[in-house]
Structure formats: C-alpha cells, structure tokens
C-alpha cells in the first residue's frame, strides 16, 4: 500500500464550494495524510525540516488546490521555493523525491471546453500545469495528469458535488492500492475524465 500525502492549499476554505467536499471525501482513508498548509502556516512561514520529513514518509504527493490564475495559491509556491532544496530534492545528492508519484488535484471555475486551444483559456490544464510537470521531472518523480473538477461555479446540485468527491476518493484509493495504470495516467489530460481508463 502506498502512503499518500495530500498537500492541501486553500486560503479561504470557508468560501470553498468544492474543495472542502473533496478533502472530506479522502480525510478518513487509511494511509492518506492531509497537510492543510494555510492552517499549519497562517503567516506563510514554512517549517522546511518538517515538510521534508513528511515527503520522506510518503510515496505519493498530491497537490490539491484551486486553480487560481492558472496556477496555485501563494503558499504552495512558497512551499516549493523553500522545501524543494538543492541537494535534497534535486541536484547533487538531491534524491529524496526520486521515484515518488505526484499529481495535481485542482478545481477550476471554467468548463472543460474553455481549457482548449480553441477555448477562451487557450491552453489545456495539462499544458498550464507544465511547471509542475517539469518540477516533478527535475526531482525524478513520476508526474501523472491532473485530477480536475471543472465548472465549480455551476456545481450547485448536491449530486454533482457528490459525484466529483466520489471520483476523487476512488482515484486516491486506486493510487494507494496500486490499481492505477501509471503509463496511461502519465499521459492523461484529466484523471477525473479518464478515471475509468486508468483505474484497473
């Protein structure tokens, strides 16, 4: 069983429409650790040693966050800048993350159709996430496609929310239990959409 760390970042969870349901869906799962970054570091001063220990203790690192401005909330950037040290995460002697699996779990206001060359967002989410892809690559990690919940503004119905949460939970469990086709998942544009194809 793989150990999963969910690096969760949301500055105003009180106003979250989707993320809090996603978090609740996986909170109680065995072998899953949720690290609520804004709660742990309200003033954004990251405890680097603690964070590195957490990474050492897990096999899969999921970054769960709203897709603010085609990227992530500020604390996650701070986290990357400080925790992924040279000589630890990459470069000479930087092999602590080697072989671990990582992906983003994001919520976006726009519909899936917008994230397309012809859409108003002009790029696919996967393309927009290429800094994360490359970061993972540099650290020797295996980067999977993102789990995206699109159109969060329109998700009003309880059923829709429930479906997204269930899918997320199913994915996390499958990754944990090694029931995911990592090659297919690595090529996927959206694990949410491709869930049935990548989970055995």
């Amino acid at each position: 069983m793989r150990r999963i760390l969910i690096q969760f970042a949301h500055p105003v969870l009180e106003r979250s429409r989707v993320n809090r349901h996603l978090v609740e869906a996986v909170r109680e799962l065995p072998n899953v650790t949720i690290n609520d970054l804004y709660e742990r570091y309200p003033d954004l001063s990251i405890d680097v040693a603690y964070e590195q220990q957490l990474l050492d203790d897990h096999d899969v690192i999921v970054f769960q966050h709203p897709f603010y401005w085609y990227s992530c909330p500020a604390i996650l950037k701070e986290w990357q800048d400080l925790v992924l040290e040279h000589g630890w995460a990459y470069g000479k002697g930087g092999d602590h993350l080697r072989g671990k699996i990582t992906f983003n779990a994001i919520t976006a206001g726009g519909p899936k159709s917008a994230y397309h060359r012809a859409g108003y967002n002009r790029f696919t989410t996967r393309e927009l996430l290429s800094p994360w892809d490359q970061t993972a690559h540099l650290c020797g990690m295996r980067y999977l496609g993102p789990f995206v919940v699109h159109g969060t503004l329109r998700i009003a119905k309880h059923d829709d929310m429930h479906a997204a949460s269930a899918a997320y939970r199913k994915l996390i469990e499958a990754v944990r239990d090694d029931r995911v086709d990592l090659d297919r998942a690595g090529d996927s544009d959206d694990l949410h959409h491709d869930l049935s194809k990548v989970v055995a």
Binding site: V12, R15, Y38, R40, P42, A108, G110, Y120, N121, L153
Partner: protein, 634 residues
C-alpha cells in the same frame, strides 16, 4: 568656626558658579574658569581667601584621586596592558630626559648639583588634574595624542614614589643611611617594599572579592545614598591605605578603578563618584589659582617668567621629539607636547618635601612654587592655542577621518535599559543574532540572576544622563527602552531625546496615555507592553472558535491596522485635554472596528478579498466560446 567654614564654602562656590560658566561661554573652557576664579578670590585680588589655601588644597587634591579612580574604571586590565609601551617607554623616557635636562639647566644658571637634580625631577612632572580635565573637556581623551598624554601622566604618578625615596639622599644634611628614605615611618626599606606589595594585593583583593557582595547587599536595601557612601568609602579607604604605606593615593585608587573596571557596578560607581570628583577638582583648580603669590611675582618678574618660559619650552621640545621617536603621528605629537608642557601639582608636594629635607632654601622653593602655579594656569590657554591654531595646521584630512581607537571597551550598537521580562525578550533575540549589547538595570536581583546566566548587566539608574554617557549612548545606534516604571521610562526617553537626539529609540509603554506621552517626546516607535501577547491571544481565540488559522491572522491584522490608526488619532484628542470627546471618540472607534470586522467576517458578509472569491462570477452568464476572455474565469 562653623560660620567661617560656611563663609569659605560660599566664597569658593560663588567663584565656581560665576567664573566657570563665563569662561565656558567665552570658549576658554571650565578649567581656566576655575583658575581665574581662584586668582580673583585669592589674596592679591579680592582677598576673600588667604593663608588657608594650603589646607584647602590638601583637601581638594582628593579630586585628583577620584579622577584617577574614574579613569581606572574606564580602563580594563587588558586595555591597560595594551598601553604598557607608551606608559613605560614614552613615560619613562619623558621623566628621565626632562629630569636630566631640567637639572642641567639649573646647574647652568648656578644651582648646586643636588638641588638641581631635585628641581629636574620636580619639573618632569605634569598636571594630571588639569591635563585630563582639559582633554576630557575637549573630547581629546580617546585620540592617539590624548592616550599618549594619559600614559605619560600615569608613569609620572608611578615615578613619584621613587622620587620621594631619592629626595632625602639629595639633602644638604646628607651622610645618613638609605633607611632614611622611609625615616618617617621608621621601617627598613625591605619591610616598606613588603608593605607596598601587600597594599597593592589588598586593593586587588578588595576589588575582586569584597566589592561585589557589598554592593549586592546595599542594592537590596534600595537606598541610593548608601551606594554613594559605599563608593566614597572605597575610594577614601584605598587612598588612606596607600598613603599609609607611602604610595600615591591617586595611583592606588587608579589601580582599584582598573580592578573594578570589569565589574557590573562599574557604571554605578562612576556615576556616584563623578559629582564629587567634579566639585573637588574644581576646588583644586580654584586653590591653585588662589595660591599664586603675586607679591613674589611682582618682585621677581623676570626670574619667574624666565623659569616658566624656559621650562615650558624645554618640555614642549622634549615631548615633541620623544613623540616622534615613539612613532606618534603629527597631530598626536603636537597634542602631547602642548598638553604636558606645564609643571604639575605633584611638584607642590615635591617642593615642600624638598624644603623639608633642606635640599634648597624656602626662598627658592617659593619662587619655584609660583612658577609651577603659573605654568598650570597657562595650560588651558595652551590648549586653546593647540586647538585653534596648531591642530588645524598639522592635521591631514586623511588622518582626521580615520576613526580613532577607543579607550573604552563597552561601546555596543545597542543599549537596553531595563532587563526584566520585556527587555530580556528583546535582548535574547538580538543576542541570538550575535549583536553585542550594553544592558542597564536597576533591580539588583535581576542583575544577579541574569549575571549567573553569563550575561553582563550593569546595575544603574538609566534616567541619569551621566550613566547614559557611560553606557555609550553617544556611539550606539539603537536604544531599547524597556523599563517597566512609567515615570522613569518617560524621564529616560526625555534625556535620551535631549542628549542623544540622533539615537533611535524603541520604547515599551504601559498604557495609552503613556504611549502618547512618549510619542510627544519624539519617540517614533512605541510598543504597548501587553499588546503583543493580547493580540496573539485574540488570534488563538478566533481559532478556538473554529476560524481557519490564516483567516484568524488576517482578521486580527485588519483589526490591528485600524486600532493603530485610531490610537494616533485619539492621541490628538487626548492631548487636547477634552475627556468627554476622548471617550466619545473611543466608543465611536470601537463601533467602527466592530463594523469593520463584521464586513471581514467571511461567515456574515463577503466584500474584501474578492480576488479569492468566486461568488461574483456566478452572476456572470455561462462562459461560452464566444465570450471574451476579459470576463471569463479561470
């Protein structure tokens, strides 16, 4: 009798009060003011004081003793060790060369060999009192020249002992044995030497072992006067001890000062002795002025003028040449030569001793005494010439800009006043970052406890300006005012603002009125002493009630911004004295804060941080391919 003493005291005090400020205002310096005052009240001008001048002088010489004690306090043993070359090299050479030259000159004008030698040794002395006071007055003490002058003076003080021992051998009724050296005490020479060594060891023992527990005991009693009394007791006691074994009291107290220079009570001792030193030294200068026998000067003007001129010129040349030989730069050489050209107060002692030993007759002694006094009076004018005309010519710009080495060791970038619960926290953060501190505290137990942790805290009242000076406020970059007492803190802030206007202050305050009071004194940053912890408690309380940590922090920050803004605004209302409008405005401000917070509370109303909010987007039409990117969400 009592009336007499009071009248005398009044005359001296009036002279000091009238002439010193006058002289300072004219740019002539305090020392010259005292001397002129002395001449004025002396027998040949107003005649207020007369024959008792000698007794007053004897008493006033104690000012010199105290001055050397304070000089010693500023010289740690390690620093003194660094000065060993100028003291024994330059100092030794100066005494030897000047004594021989003086003796040669005296023989040249027809004085017999033995009295001539006595004159040479007497005239080798310079005036510790006038020179150190003048150097300090002109901020020259810490320059190269000042340090060299000080070193030479120190050696002169030491050399008084062997000179006093040699004098009896020069007497006309010679032919007595060497034991006569210490004839007055009736001890053989070797025993005297043992006594001297014993006395020095005793002084070191007292300074190292006894003073600390004594002061701790006194500090427990919380009586200022007992401190002052103890400080005086130490100085007087050591002077007495030294005199009774035949050592110079000034040298003994200097030694005691050096021993105590490392003590945490250093600043306190300095502060306690300082006013006595100042007064007695002033008295000393006045009596030097009053002692000049103008009758004699009038009857033998040429002889006296000749002696004074020849001596001062000779000493000036010798000092200048020696300064060059010992590698002093140009300004330092000139300062050394001009500063030490006079003949010093020890000469009075040596001259009367010489008369007593019948080395020369009283007429010659009187003539020489007058010359000594006049040369001393001429010293302050010499300093004026040095400062106005000589130094500007001999100082290279480059050498001027170079920072001078400091004789005082404890000059740190930060001075902390008050090392209780508040000051310690600030101090620990600074210390953790390797920033050296000078710490002052008035609580002896705190000084003790913190001292046991290996942190040097000086015991002393930071509201006293002289203590602030001693703590190095003139050089410090930051003053942390962390004392808990409201009135005291205000007084300290006032003094620091007045005397060190460039020194940045970070101040702790008790409450709002205190906050405004300190602000109105010009303290830019004032911290309410319980604000920080109350603020953190407020954040924790919000968290306990279920607020997200980051949200709680942001809400509290918003409130703090408002609070600080209102605090400044309320300060103006408070300052106007109108309490009704103050309380009205305060109530108003509290309402304001609450309204602000309700707006901020994400559970009630969302307006701010709209960047993080997507509610407004929900009102937009469904984005389609046709929708312009401008109003489309990510």
């Amino acid at each position: 009798m009592t009336n007499d003493i009071l009248a005398q005291a009044l005359v001296y005090l009036v002279a000091a009060v009238v002439f010193v400020p006058l002289s300072k205002r004219l740019g002539l310096g305090a020392v010259l003011g005292y001397l002129i005052g002395g001449v004025t009240i002396g027998p040949f001008v107003l005649g207020f004081v007369g024959g008792e001048g000698h007794h007053v002088m004897r008493f006033a010489e104690f000012g010199v003793v105290m001055m050397l004690f304070i000089v010693g306090l500023e010289l740690r043993p390690s620093l003194l060790w660094q000065l060993r070359r100028p003291i024994f090299g330059l100092g030794g050479a100066q005494v030897l060369v000047t004594a021989l030259a003086g003796a040669g000159a005296a023989i040249g004008v027809g004085v017999a060999t033995k009295p001539a030698l006595a004159i040479g040794m007497t005239f080798a002395m310079s005036s510790t009192a006038i020179v150190l006071a003048s150097l300090t007055e002109r901020n020259m003490m810490k320059t190269n020249g000042g340090q060299s002058a000080f070193s030479v003076l120190l050696f002169q003080d030491i050399s008084v002992i062997p000179i006093l021992a040699i004098f009896p051998l020069l007497g006309v009724v010679a032919g007595q044995e060497i034991t006569d050296v210490t004839a007055e005490s009736g001890r053989p020479g070797w025993l005297s030497a043992l006594f001297v060594i014993g006395a020095v060891l005793l002084v070191i023992f007292i300074g190292r072992v006894l003073v600390r527990p004594l002061f701790r005991f006194l500090a427990g009693a919380q009586l200022r006067e007992s401190f002052t009394a103890a400080a005086l007791m130490i100085v007087v006691g050591i002077a007495f001890l030294m005199e009774s074994v035949g050592l110079s009291p000034a040298l003994g107290t200097f030694l005691a000062g050096v021993v105590l220079a490392d003590s945490e009570y250093r600043h306190e001792l300095e502060t306690d002795i300082e006013p006595f030193k100042g007064l007695l030294l002033g008295l000393f200068f006045i009596s030097v002025g009053a002692q000049i026998d103008f009758g004699l000067v009038g009857s033998e003007p040429l002889a006296i003028a000749g002696i004074v001129l020849a001596t001062m010129l000779g000493k000036l040349v010798i000092l200048h040449v020696l300064g060059r030989l010992f590698g002093l730069d140009r300004p330092a050489r000139w300062m050394l030569a001009f500063a030490l050209a006079q003949i010093g107060e020890f000469s009075f002692v040596l001259l009367s001793f010489a008369t007593q030993e019948r080395i020369f007759d009283p007429a010659l002694a009187n003539l020489l005494t007058a010359a000594v006094a006049i040369s001393m009076v001429l010293t302050p004018p010499m300093f004026i010439v040095l400062e106005r005309f000589v130094l500007p010519r001999v100082t290279d710009d480059e050498a001027d800009k170079r920072p001078q080495d400091d004789i005082v060791a404890a000059e740190t970038p930060v001075v902390i006043a008050g090392y209780g619960r508040f000051g310690q926290m600030v101090g620990r953060i600074l210390r953790a970052n390797g920033i050296p501190l000078t710490i002052l505290d008035l609580d002896p137990e705190m000084v003790d406890i913190v001292g046991r942790l290996g942190i040097k805290v000086y015991y002393g009242d930071a509201s006293r300006v002289d203590l602030l000076h001693a703590a190095g406020c003139a050089q410090a970059r930051l003053f942390v005012l962390a004392v808990d007492d409201k009135e005291q803190a205000t007084q300290i802030a006032r003094n620091v603002r007045e005397h060190f206007p460039k020194l940045e202050i970070l101040a702790r305050c008790r409450d709002r009125p205190h906050y405004w009071e300190l602000r109105s004194l010009g303290v830019k940053r004032v911290f309410r002493e319980t604000f920080g912890s109350a603020y953190e408690t407020g954040i924790a309380a919000l968290q306990s009630l279920g607020y997200r940590a980051h949200t709680a922090l942001r809400l509290a920050r918003k409130w703090r911004d408002h609070e600080e803004h209102v605090l400044e605004e309320l300060g103006e209302v408070w300052g106007s004295g109108d309490r009704d409008s103050y309380f009205a405005r305060t109530r108003n401000a509290m309402d304001e804060a609450e309204r602000l917070m309700r707006q901020e509370d994400p559970k009630v109303f969302v307006e701010r941080d709209a960047g993080w909010d997507n509610e407004s987007l929900r009102a937009d039409p469904e984005p389609t391919e046709a929708v312009d990117a401008a109003d489309a969400p990510f």
